[in-house]
Amino acid sequence: MPGAIYAEGLVKTFGDVRALDGVDLDVPEGTVLGLLGPNGAGKTTAVRCLTTLLRPDSGKAIVAGVDVLKHPDAVRRRVGLSGQFAAVDEYLTGRENLQMVGQLYQMKSKAAKTRADELLEQFNLTDAADRTAKTYSGGMRRRLDLAAALVVSPPVMFMDEPTTGLDPRNRQQLWEVIKQLVSGGTTLLLTTQYLEEADHLAHDICVVDHGRVIARGTADQLKAQTGGERVEVVVHEREHIETASEVLRGFGKGETTVEEHTRKLTVPVTGGAKLLAEVIRELDARGIEIDDIGLRRPTLDDVFISLTGHAAEEKEEGNGAADNKGSKADKDSKGRKRKQEDTK
């Protein structure tokens, strides 16, 4: 049985650009899927197709048990969308915004009013309820936007980069709100460029790039796929790099990489903390002074770089739903360069 959000072979092209190039998704009810990818990977296009804002060229999509292409209006009654840009009317007060959305969800005006009050309370906006949204901080606007998406407590939610541009404190706050929501049984598809965010909130992660899903799994599975743990050493003196490299080679399970300018050496290992202690003793015995040493497990950033050849937050030209070919080529060459540096 398909999940609360299900897509098969979604394709959407804009001119020559394949913004979605055959995307399959399956999100079981009550879980969170993190759609992770750089700008222009096709995340927003996927959300727009699944929320009836864009019609895919081909493919199939079922959301909350309803075929998106056949019954878009029924889908609209069952989903909430919180966009990349906080879509609230800045000249309306928080309360007026929520009431309007409630009425447009076909609630009676009195019911819309009651619901608006509940949401304002839930999102800590009661004090600001009668001020125009123009006077709200970025974090408050995001909360209001999210509240607007929750007016009918939809069983399925889509959030397109909900925390982009928020400061760390507001991001933390929004994460708490999202966690509460999910604990109430809502199915959520969340797009993000922040690997930390996907790691924190999502049960499953799909990594997208150039309109395709290039990897999927839990955060742990993706990390395991990238490789296990590594020892990272930063030596104090440049002259010691060579000796340190020799030491690490003795413990490592693969090639040692060296970053000359930061005096950092990295080697894949197995054996955990016990091995780390041995490395430290050996380095000490050879008289190598170290600034920093540690056992590192791969982050989603490492996963992303190893999968795509470029970092997730690397900005591209034309911050749109699709890449053009030029920027793609450019990015590939950047990715290669980075790899060369790493293995030097």
Binding site: G83, F85, A87, L104, A111, E121, Q122, F123, V152, Q180
Partner: protein, 285 residues
């Protein structure tokens, strides 16, 4: 924070027409609240037509010939129907800019993700513009009275005819806001919608009988002016106000100006509403 409340029941609409009207009114209310919180927009919208009344009356008034008369009073009485008609068509720019702004800010995305009637966002906006246009006309009519405009100055009129003239003017303005809606959905920024909504209105309103007697134009230009939908509304208002300078042209819209104005307005609404709603369904910011 309290727990999330029970899901609110949402049923499929049983009466699509009723839903469409209700949704349009919700959006109209939203736009009217906005307008009331940006009073400077309403005020700027008023200054321009008032300036036109004063400038045309006093600068052009002395040198214009209307129906053989060079009296500035006759020109003033002639002019007002033209200024009123021009003012209502300029609401086009406001509608276009408002909708382009909603696109730009992601509000159109929000609306399109809601289970609301498809045309309601645009209908609501044009209805709100209609209210604003009516207020503008009211103020403008008072200014016109102050500079000496009088209904029935050169012909029969009565309260019904005067109200009928204002009705035709409002209908024509409403029709033009649908052109603005289409422009607003087609351009990328509110600024482009404002200028794109105004530029073409200058030839439309000037190649007409609004400010001069079109019978003095070269023949090809006169034909355009006579068949210009805008001219029909001006001619109809002038006749109904009982003001001087009613065109004696043989062109059908000039002979049947009230009917012509109605037909033109209804056709513009049907055509541009269809195009704009279609555009809205596939709109992307």
């Amino acid at each position: 924070m309290s727990a999330v409340t029970d899901a609110v029941q949402i049923a499929a609409p049983t009466n699509p027409v009723g839903q469409s009207i209700r949704d349009s009114l919700v959006v109209a209310k939203r736009n009217l609240i906005r307008m009331s919180r940006i009073p400077e927009m309403v005020i700027f919208g008023l200054i321009q037509p008032i300036m036109f009344v004063v400038l045309f009356s006093y600068v052009f008034g002395g040198s214009m010939q209307i129906g053989g008369s060079t009296s500035p009073t006759d020109y003033r009485n002639f002019l007002m129907a033209g200024i009123f008609a021009q003012t209502v068509t300029f609401a086009t720019a406001g509608a276009g800019a408002g909708i382009a702004d909603d696109m730009h800010k992601g509000l159109i995305d929000r609306f399109r993700s809601l289970p609301m009637a498809r045309g309601a966002v645009l209908t609501g906006r044009t209805l709100a513009d209609l209210v604003q246009t009516a207020l503008t006309l009211l103020v403008l009519a008072m200014v016109a009275l102050l500079v000496g405009w009088r209904v029935g100055s050169n012909g029969d009129t009565n309260a019904g005819k005067v109200l009928g003239a204002f009705g035709l003017l409002l209908l024509s303005g409403y029709a033009f806001t649908w052109i603005g809606a289409l422009i607003g959905l087609s351009v990328r920024t509110p600024e482009a919608a404002t200028s794109g909504g105004l530029i073409w209105l200058f030839p439309v309103t000037f190649i007409s009988n609004a400010f001069v007697d079109s019978s003095n134009m070269t023949p090809w230009l006169r034909h355009i002016a006579d068949w210009n939908p805008f001219s029909a509304t001006v001619q109809a208002s002038r006749e109904l106000f009982g003001n001087p300078g009613v065109s004696q042209s043989d062109a059908w819209p000039m002979q049947h100006s009230v009917l012509a104005s109605l037909i033109y307005s209804v056709l513009i609404i049907l055509l541009f509403r269809t195009l704009a709603v279609r555009k809205y369904r596939s709109a992307t910011a």
